[in-house]
């Protein structure tokens, strides 16, 4: 495995190596090019460095379209002193994060539809507060619901080069599992919401107005008849 001994390429690779080592945050190819002489082959230098660092104690990885050095993941057991206990996400928050990541842009109602439960307080807002999730805009449908998506920080945190690298994404797509147009005919019955409420309903107005009435069998309706 002899590397080309082109002096210019060698200098570019050394420079990129030094910059990425010194940088406090991941750098894009454009960021790097900005600090190198015109015409420097940054992409080649990255490829060269990736080869050199393969299997070493430090890896060169792409996150959110930018590059950074990080310690090899199999050496995690050594890093006890550096480890900060990251805030643990609740199971609900983890699931919500996954749904947003795989379906973005996605509305709150859609998240709830997939999970079959109303998002409780502290699910979405924790993700927003941590900066893993952001509001992206509004869906161009009646009601114009706010849509959510993930942030670059999400990608950096989970070490993903881009959204296309989400684990299992291709398989799920192939199976049609990421389709948000749920087949008709089934919706999780939700006692707090009129079942007919189209997605254009403002959830605030929807509350209280007309409650679906249900499950006489289970709660025994007879008592109430007197009212």
């Amino acid at each position: 495995m002899t590397t080309r001994e082109d002096p210019a390429a060698g200098l570019t690779a050394r420079s990129v190596e030094a910059l990425l080592f010194a940088a406090a945050e991941p750098l894009s190819l454009a960021d790097l090019a900005l600090r190198l002489p015109e015409g420097a082959e940054v992409a080649e230098a990255i490829a060269d460095l990736r080869r050199r660092y393969a299997g070493r104690g430090v890896d060169l990885v792409e996150v959110a379209g930018r590059w950074r050095f990080q310690t090899a993941d199999d050496l995690d057991y050594l890093m006890v002193q550096e480890r900060q206990e990251p805030r643990r996400l609740s199971r609900a928050a983890q699931e919500t994060l996954a749904i947003i990541a795989y379906h973005q842009p996605v509305t709150r109602a859609e998240i709830e539809a997939v999970r079959g439960v109303q998002a409780s307080r502290g699910t979405l807002d924790v993700l927003l507060e941590l900066g893993l999730v952001r509001m992206r805009g509004r869906r161009r449908t009646p009601g114009r619901p706010v849509t959510y998506g993930t942030t670059d920080l999400f990608l950096e945190h989970y070490g993903l080069a881009g959204l296309a690298d989400l684990p299992g994404l291709a398989d799920m797509k192939a199976l049609g599992l990421l389709d948000m147009n749920l087949p008709p005919g089934f919706s999780v019955p939700d006692p707090s919401r009129p079942t007919d409420a189209a997605s254009d309903e403002d959830p605030l107005d929807a509350e209280g107005a007309e409650e679906p009435e249900f499950v006489q069998d289970f709660l025994g309706g007879g008592d109430r008849q007197d009212g």
Binding site: A22, P183, P189
Partner: protein, 272 residues
């Protein structure tokens, strides 16, 4: 569709709980909602989730609800609604299919397939969530340089802050607005004592006629006395110093600039 089997029932309590947003989410043996229970049950069938038997699933779910209800008197409404709904769906699946579906209702098989799809989707998301959480995470499994040399390349126009922070900032202010008591800002004045001390210190520099405006301090920030206060106090202080014989003041006519100068015959007796 669901209206067909939902007779009238007052359900104020559950509604109030739903308004609170928390009470209804009951942790039943680790399940967050009926769909999560169904998913766990469906997995036990060990078939492709898209091909699972909804009638069997319905039986299992009803049994589950029965068991949990005997242990826990208050079972969340969602679980009961789902139970009723599944019982209804099961009955429709078992009945020989009518010549054509009743009115607006889709065929039961379609609804069942739809439920299967929903479970497969939730299952996929749970697996994806697990896959994400087991990825090497920054700060837990992998680490960036511990002592970076802080090379940052950031566009000059880039600034931090996202929409969530923006609306949080908005709301926190609107909220304060409601509980605010009016507290007019107390105007700050330049104390006469301070003005006198300052002027005395400046005396050596006032060897020639200097306009009052040039002697008075200039305010720099919002929390300082106003320019008018600086001027007024400095003028008062200068008149006192004139009285003491340390300073001369001169004004050519009304409203004209006032000039100050240290008096030559220094009371300290310095060589003239």
């Amino acid at each position: 569709m669901t209206e067909g089997f939902q007779p009238n029932l007052d359900f104020v309590a559950a509604q109030a709980a739903a308004d609170d947003g928390e009470a209804l989410i009951i942790d039943l043996d680790g399940y967050e909602g009926p769909l999560h229970v169904l998913l766990a049950l469906a997995r036990s069938q060990k078939v492709d989730l898209l091909k699972l038997s909804v009638t069997r699933l319905a039986e299992q779910y009803l049994a589950f609800v029965h068991r949990v209800r005997s242990l826990r008197f208050s079972l969340a409404a969602d679980y009961l609604v789902m139970a009723a709904w599944l019982a209804y769906l099961k009955s429709r699946l078992l009945l020989p299919s009518a010549d054509k579906p009743r009115g607006d209702e889709p065929p039961a098989e379609e609804i069942a397939a739809s439920l299967a799809f929903r479970l497969a989707k939730l299952d996929a998301m749970r697996k994806a969530s697990d896959a994400l959480q087991t990825r090497p995470r920054l700060g837990r499994d992998v680490f960036t340089r511990g002592d970076p040399e802080q090379v940052r390349i950031v566009g000059a126009d880039r600034f931090e802050g996202d929409l969530y922070q923006l609306i949080s900032a908005y709301i926190s202010q609107r909220r304060q607005e409601q509980f605010r008591t009016y507290r007019p800002e107390v105007p700050q004045a330049f104390a006469l004592e301070d003005a006198r001390r300052r002027l005395r210190e400046l005396l050596p520099e006032l060897g020639r006629w200097t306009p009052l405006a040039g002697v008075a301090p200039v305010p720099h920030g919002d929390s300082e006395p106003t320019r008018a206060s600086y001027l007024a106090s400095t003028l008062s202080a200068s008149l006192e110093l004139v009285k003491e014989g340390a300073l001369d003041a001169r004004q050519m006519e009304a409203f004209a600039e006032i000039y100050l100068k240290a008096r030559l015959t220094d009371p300290e007796g310095a060589p003239a």
